[in-house]
Subunit: 363 residues, 2 copies
């Protein structure tokens, strides 16, 4: 493929500077979700860490470089998760972290940013205004601006998820592999399904062939996408964005930057209006598709993850399930990985979204 800005060697190196608490996250098949989705589904869980999102992977790279030979002060704009992660990574390395956020940002995220000791400045506008303000602070104060998705550390940190996916796929499911080898001793592969049936075994799910990635600024999608295209090019890379915040998806389809005047989605983590040209260029090289989903599907996805996987997730983390729900035929019979990228939610809002239904106990 053509070269993105990312580098697989640097991504491998990034793993050595990221606190292990963010690495080697769970990847597991969740069969209880499958009857409702019509395909094999594996979850890559990025919420079981001190900041409850994947963003720590990128901020660890940023902060370790700064701690080594950079300014000790840093500012970023954030919908909440990047700011929380940068606060965490910066605190451990003695950096002075300022986060600029919209005053409409998720309260739980803002509270955690403060609790982690970062300076927090709120702007009376949306995330794009916060980006402008952060850039202005960096200029005036002469401190480092961390720009999510534009700064390669944020993409290459996120890209370490891709390395873990590829490695798991290569060494996938040793038990199932041994079983398959066992069956192969007795018959050729065409008979495997029949043999499995005779043995009352389910046919093991094949290695995953698609990865669903929440699309916001693009760090996660270009990062994971770069690694998959470099190391497992047969895997389909599908980006998912809310219909109410479609700027980067539209840009991808039109192959030019398309901005929008506003956003209207509960998925606060991916609600941008102004795609970054360099990020779009990378995304055009690594994404096989970019799709938009409705708010009702996002909520249905959150409910399914709660009811059948026992996972509390923020709306952005349900985009993958939403995409399956909206296009079952596309995924029927396939094995899909969805990256559950964050779980920072406001309690009241979460209860409103998922609370209307009982939590059924069976599939």
């Amino acid at each position: 493929m053509q070269q993105t800005r990312l580098d697989t060697g640097r991504i491998r190196a990034a793993r050595r500077v990221i606190d292990p608490v963010f690495l080697g996250t769970p990847l597991y098949r969740c069969e209880a979700l499958e009857p409702g989705l019509g395909c094999a589904v594996s979850i890559k869980l990025e919420t079981a860490n001190p900041v409850r999102s994947f963003k720590g992977r990128g901020t660890e790279v940023v902060a370790s470089l700064l701690a080594e030979h950079g300014p000790r002060a840093v500012v970023c704009a954030s919908a909440g998760n990047l700011g929380q992660a940068l606060a965490w990574s910066g605190r451990g390395r003695g950096l002075d972290v300022t986060v600029v956020a919209s005053r409409f940002a998720t309260t739980a995220k803002l509270d955690r940013i403060r609790a982690l000791g970062a300076g927090l400045e709120l702007v009376d506008g949306d995330h794009e205004l916060a980006r402008e303000r952060a850039a202005a602070i960096a200029r005036y104060d002469g401190i480092r601006l961390v720009e999510d998705s534009l700064d390669l550390e944020t993409c290459e940190g996120a890209a370490t998820i891709g390395l873990e996916l590829v490695e798991a796929r290569e060494g996938a499911n040793p038990g199932a592999q041994a079983k398959r080898a066992d069956l192969t001793d007795q018959a050729d592969q065409a008979d495997q399904a029949q043999l499995a049936e005779q043995a009352q075994l389910p046919v093991p799910a094949p290695p995953f062939d698609a990865v669903l990635i929440a699309l916001g600024g693009g760090a996660l999608a270009t990062g994971v996408g770069h690694v998959l295209k470099a190391l497992a090019p047969g895997v389909e890379v599908i980006c998912v964005q809310p219909l109410g915040a479609p700027a980067l998806t539209r840009s991808w389809h039109e192959r030019r930057v398309v901005t929008t005047d506003s956003t209207d989605t509960i998925a606060d983590g991916v609600a941008g209006r102004c795609p970054i040209p360099a990020v779009l260029d990378d995304l055009l090289l690594v994404a096989d598709d970019a799709v938009l989903v409705q708010e009702a599907s996002i909520i249905a996805g959150m409910r399914m993850l709660l009811d059948h996987a026992g996972l509390v997730v923020e709306p952005s983390a349900a985009l993958g399930i939403a995409a399956i729900l909206e296009d079952r035929d596309r995924f029927a019979g396939r094995h899909v990985v969805t990256v559950v990228c964050g779980s920072n939610v406001d309690g009241d809002a979460y209860r409103r979204w998922v609370g209307a239904v009982a939590l059924p106990h069976s599939v």
Copy 2:
């Protein structure tokens, strides 16, 4: 210490036969919980896997041994999690799995056992009756009986959690360690706190000094306890059981088997009445304490884990938090690990337990 039935070498070997999907589970500090608990708290999360509990570690050892050179049919009694895990492990290896459970068991657990293809027999009584019935089936049918906590595979599989805890403690928190090393270059350790304060850094949490373990049949407690006492003897091993199912805790305190006539707790996973003598002997060697907690504290623990950690857990998995809530002075200022051992809950019951409160968004 005196010898338990467990063997550290075998526990290390167990890791090689357990499907990696159950290994290397997240261990992370959860600061959002800490203001409410008064101590540093780390979570060892055993729910992000295909069966949503730690039991897969043990059943993988059982099933791999059987697949190698044992009978192909196996039966166990289970409150639900062992059965689900044995069904999963057995299915992947072509074993014929029967699970005996109380008809009062958690419906979500029974549904998943069926969905995984195991035979399920319900008895009209509690878990102890299920144990009797499973033993009878094994005798009549000449098949392998898996006895949770008595069979060493179940203890030594669970014990691999202990290996991970010890390894994490030894290599704890590289970022914080580097920082500490940095500070040590400038001053001796006594000045670290002051330096950290000057740098506006929190003092890094010291390595954990206590592990809270749900106590049911004893496999988890004797397993993790064995490894900790062997490899990190300074760590306090504290078992936690509900006041409504106190048999093994009372037995530990009286140093003899004490049975009870009934149980009365929502923590279905740990509701036994008849401790196994050999397990008690091991527990006496590895546990520093065994405490009982009230139902209200278990529910409060479940709510805290939901509100501040974003984790849906079953009651047994909240026992550790309940223990801290009931004895804050004991843990004040310390660093405690709690093993979050399962998340299989019935939706309606869970909503009843946690639903009475809003999910606050801040600590």
